[in-house]
């Protein structure tokens, strides 16, 4: 970056997105993509295979077995009369629920929220951004609305939205999505505005290409790479916001195992039993870190102009 070898006068400057497999090869050479993607894959497997990972019902309450330290064992009487020992690897919470099982099942909620918030906000933001960038008379109205939404700090906006609905997965997804949309709209709009000045777009206009075709063929492809990158960062921040909402007690109902809920439940007895915050905290941080690393790696590969930011 600091060495700008303009004087090298490249014979063929590399295009923003080389067609073909070159991009994939470069992607798989990025350590941050490999590590981030790897950790994420593990989390994905954990979430999908949760029932098979030695867990018990994450919502099962056991008043006799509350607030136990990690590693404690307990005998379970099974339906057929026989008994087995179950080890609470991460202890139990103040309702006697198995923290390990809750943490494992919690991966599901986090990933679902991360992915769906990213997908929904990208989809809505893409449409609004394209419209704002191309339909001049709607541009002002859309962008002023987005300015207004962006003027409300994201978490407050999310809090405001959840306070309107009955708490639940859907409400939380809507609440986290709304503040993310303006950023996507701005990104898409700025790409549209700069790309439509490109000579190749003007050449397509001169070739009589109708506007919808122009958008799909010449403008939309330019948004793909930045949107993928933006999507990963939205995904990461969505998981964090979900945890924050749950932690504050205004997110997903407390009986649902989410990492935020486990930590919220562990707050009161934190001084004695820090593991209720430690374990879900590690899982959450690791997952978000993986997504962020993946995003950084994707950006460095797909968007050379932004490399190393």
């Amino acid at each position: 970056m600091s060495a700008k070898p303009a004087i090298l006068a490249p014979a063929t400057p590399s295009p923003t997105l080389a067609p073909g497999f070159a991009v994939w090869r470069r992607l798989f050479r990025q350590p941050s993509v490999l590590i981030g993607g790897g950790v994420l894959l593990v989390m994905l497997f954990i979430a999908m295979l949760a029932p098979a990972l030695g867990t018990i019902d994450p919502s099962a309450i056991n008043p006799a077995f509350r607030n136990r330290v990690p590693g404690v064992e307990r005998t379970i009487r099974q339906d057929d009369g026989s008994s087995a020992t179950f080890r609470h690897r991460m202890g139990t919470d103040s309702l006697g629920r198995d923290v390990y099982s809750r943490v494992i099942y919690g991966a599901r909620v986090s990933l679902i929220i991360g992915v769906s918030v990213a997908a929904i906000s990208l989809a809505i933001g893409l449409v609004l951004g394209l419209v704002a960038g191309y339909v001049r008379w709607l541009d002002g109205a859309i962008m002023r609305l987005m300015d207004g939404l962006m003027a409300i700090p994201a978490i407050l906006l999310a809090i405001a939205v959840v306070s309107l609905f009955r708490a639940g997965l859907g409400a939380v997804i809507v609440a986290i999505t709304v503040p993310e949309i303006p950023r996507v709209v701005r990104l898409v709009r700025s790409i549209v505005l700069s790309v439509r000045e490109e000579p190749y777009v003007e050449a397509a206009i001169m070739a009589g290409t109708p506007t919808p075709k122009l958008m799909v063929r010449h403008i939309l492809p330019n948004t793909v790479a930045p949107l993928i990158v933006q999507g990963t960062f939205i995904c990461a921040s969505a998981m964090l916001v979900e945890a924050i909402l749950s932690f504050l007690g205004i997110g997903i109902p407390p009986e649902t195992p989410t990492w935020g809920n486990i930590m919220a439940e562990g707050r009161n007895l934190f001084r004695i039993y820090p593991h209720n915050i430690l374990y879900p905290g590690i899982f959450l941080a690791l997952t978000v870190l993986a997504v962020n690393m993946l995003g950084d790696g994707l950006r460095d590969t797909l968007d050379p102009k932004m490399a190393g930011r």
Binding site: I7, S14, P15, E202, M206, G208, K213, H218
Partner: protein
């Protein structure tokens, strides 16, 4: 000042390229000498290694490039072996450099005075008042108007020419023995270029400075060089006194380069008699911005432009930056809407038509843009770009492809290349593709907006020949936008000279060049570098 004491001796310089480049060395075995009071021009096309050589002397190469062999002696001292500290001491005092882009070479947030003063602060112990006197003195020597005011100005408040003068002032304030100039006038308008060249020549002969001048332009070489070094692909291919190299080039490459320089003498061209293909009447474009609490800003980019182009005729619009020539072209192409006037194509006025009504006429007018690297969609194959237009107008895919293959041959490219992507082609090839794309629409009018300005001179000649060829073949009316009088002289039947949005002169090319009537046209012609020099065309 012919004492012939060498200021700079480059001996067998080799600079390695990073692994994976298109060749192993950026420059290899380069030797050259600059004596006191002498201007040595390094000439070459892009990628010849001329800039790398210059930056090696200053020790300013990007980190990926490392000199691997040879010596660079500045007044006898090998700068390749100098410590970073020593190198810093030499820069600004014994050697100085000016760059291509005066727009970006000055720090935008520091005042002009501060930036010249910086050199004195780094290298001298002078007091503030004394430094100020010296800075104002050197600014005066650069013939900058009102040095006191400019001292306190910021770069964005000055013109390009003034900024380059500031760069020269900062470079010469401590009287270095060697001045390196890396294409210092390439980004400037031709009239400004002439002034800067004159200034450099005057200063160096008065001060006895040795100048290493990097350029791609043989006109500039003819204007100022004492000696010439021609580089190609990282090697020096020819070296000698300017007069000799320019008139009796020995090396084939030099001969080719000089032969490709378009002559300022217009070619005799037959009077075009075809029907009128395009007419502009009273065209104007005004940009306005209304603002609260301050006067509205109104810019007349072009006003009252009348033009007429016949089939088979090339009309050149010539002007410097800000003259409005590109605005006119974009209005006619209807990439922007003119604020007044009419554009007549096939008996219809298209000036105010909406996009949908415009469609039938779009194919009549096609454009070839300046930047060959941005005028093709990097994600689509060349073929897809070429067939797009004809298919928009209902040609079946198979027919469109057949036409594309035909036209590829016409522009001198392999039809098989249709399935490749733009980044696999060179700049000149891409410009051929852009021409092919335009031709595929079977237009009446072709607008070439600085279409050869970004190309090396040898490639430029080929593309100009191609334009000439297709014009004859299809009886095209060509609207040729350029800042380059040499190019205009060679390709245009008639030219229009624009200044500040208005046409100041119009006429047959040969007549305008022979007896320009408007003072601005005369100034432009006088400023053309190397105008007195007859290249071996």
């Amino acid at each position: 000042m012919e004492s012939a004491k060498p200021v700079l001796e480059v001996k067998n310089l080799t600079v390695a390229l990073p692994v994976g480049g298109d060749r192993r060395h950026a420059v290899e075995g380069v030797s050259l000498t600059v004596n006191t009071g002498e201007i040595v021009c390094i000439v070459g096309e892009s990628g010849s290694g001329k800039s790398v050589t210059a930056f090696s002397v200053m020790g300013l190469l990007p980190k990926v490039l490392k000199p691997s062999a040879g010596q660079i002696l500045l007044e006898g001292e090998n700068v390749l072996e100098a410590s970073p500290q020593r190198l810093r001491d030499l820069r600004g005092t014994r050697m100085a450099m000016i760059f291509q882009e005066p727009m970006t070479a000055l720090n935008p947030v520091l005042t002009i005075g501060d930036q010249i003063d910086e050199v004195l602060r780094i290298h001298t112990d002078l007091g503030a008042a004394e430094r100020r006197t010296r800075v104002l003195g050197i600014m005066e020597a650069m013939r900058l108007p009102d040095p006191e005011r400019i001292y306190a100005s910021y770069p964005h408040q000055l013109s390009g020419g003034q900024r380059q003068r500031i760069m020269i002032a900062a470079a010469l304030v401590l009287d270095p023995a060697l001045l390196i100039a890396d294409e210092p006038t390439t980004a400037l308008d031709v009239t400004t270029q002439a002034q800067i060249l004159k200034l450099i020549k005057e200063l160096q002969s008065r001060r006895g400075t040795g100048v290493l001048f990097i350029t791609h332009d043989f006109g500039v070489v003819a204007e100022i060089a004492d000696r010439v070094v021609v580089m190609e692909g990282g090697h020096v291919v020819e070296e000698g006194p300017a007069e000799e190299v320019l008139t009796r080039p020995k090396h084939a490459y030099t001969r080719m380069l000089i032969g490709a320089v378009p002559s300022l003498k217009p070619k005799g061209r037959p009077e075009p008699t075809g029907p009128v293909a395009l007419e502009g009447i009273g065209l104007g474009k005004t940009y306005g911005e209304r603002r609260f609490f301050s006067r509205p800003r109104i810019v007349k980019a072009a006003a009252a432009v009348n033009l007429k182009v016949r089939r088979g005729e090339t009309l050149g619009i010539v002007g410097e930056s800000g003259s409005g020539k590109t605005t006119v072209a974009r209005c006619i192409a209807r990439l922007i809407e003119p604020t007044e006037g009419a554009i007549l194509v096939s008996n219809a006025d298209i000036a105010k038509l909406r996009e949908r009504q415009l469609r039938p006429y779009r194919r009549r007018i096609q454009v070839v843009f300046q930047d060959p690297y941005r005028s093709l969609n990097p994600r689509r194959t060349v073929g897809a770009s070429i067939v797009e237009g004809p298919m928009n107008y209902g040609l079946p895919a198979a027919d469109a492809t057949a036409r594309a293959r035909e036209i590829m041959k016409l522009v001198g490219l392999q039809p098989d290349a249709l399935s490749r992507y733009p980044h696999q082609f060179s700049g000149g090839q891409r410009q051929r593709i852009a021409i092919a794309r335009a031709l595929a629409m079977e237009p009446d009018v072709l607008i070439a907006d600085e279409a050869v300005s970004a190309l090396d001179v040898s490639v430029q000649k080929q593309v100009l020949d191609l334009l000439d060829d297709v014009q004859k073949r299809f009886q095209l009316a060509i609207l040729f936008i350029t800042h380059d009088l040499r190019v205009a002289a060679q390709i245009c039947d008639r030219i229009m000279v624009m200044e500040k949005g208005v046409v100041v002169e119009e006429g047959r090319t040969s007549e305008v060049f022979a007896s320009p009537s408007h003072p601005y046209t005369r100034a432009l012609l006088d400023a053309a570098p190397g105008r007195d020099f007859a290249f071996a065309a």
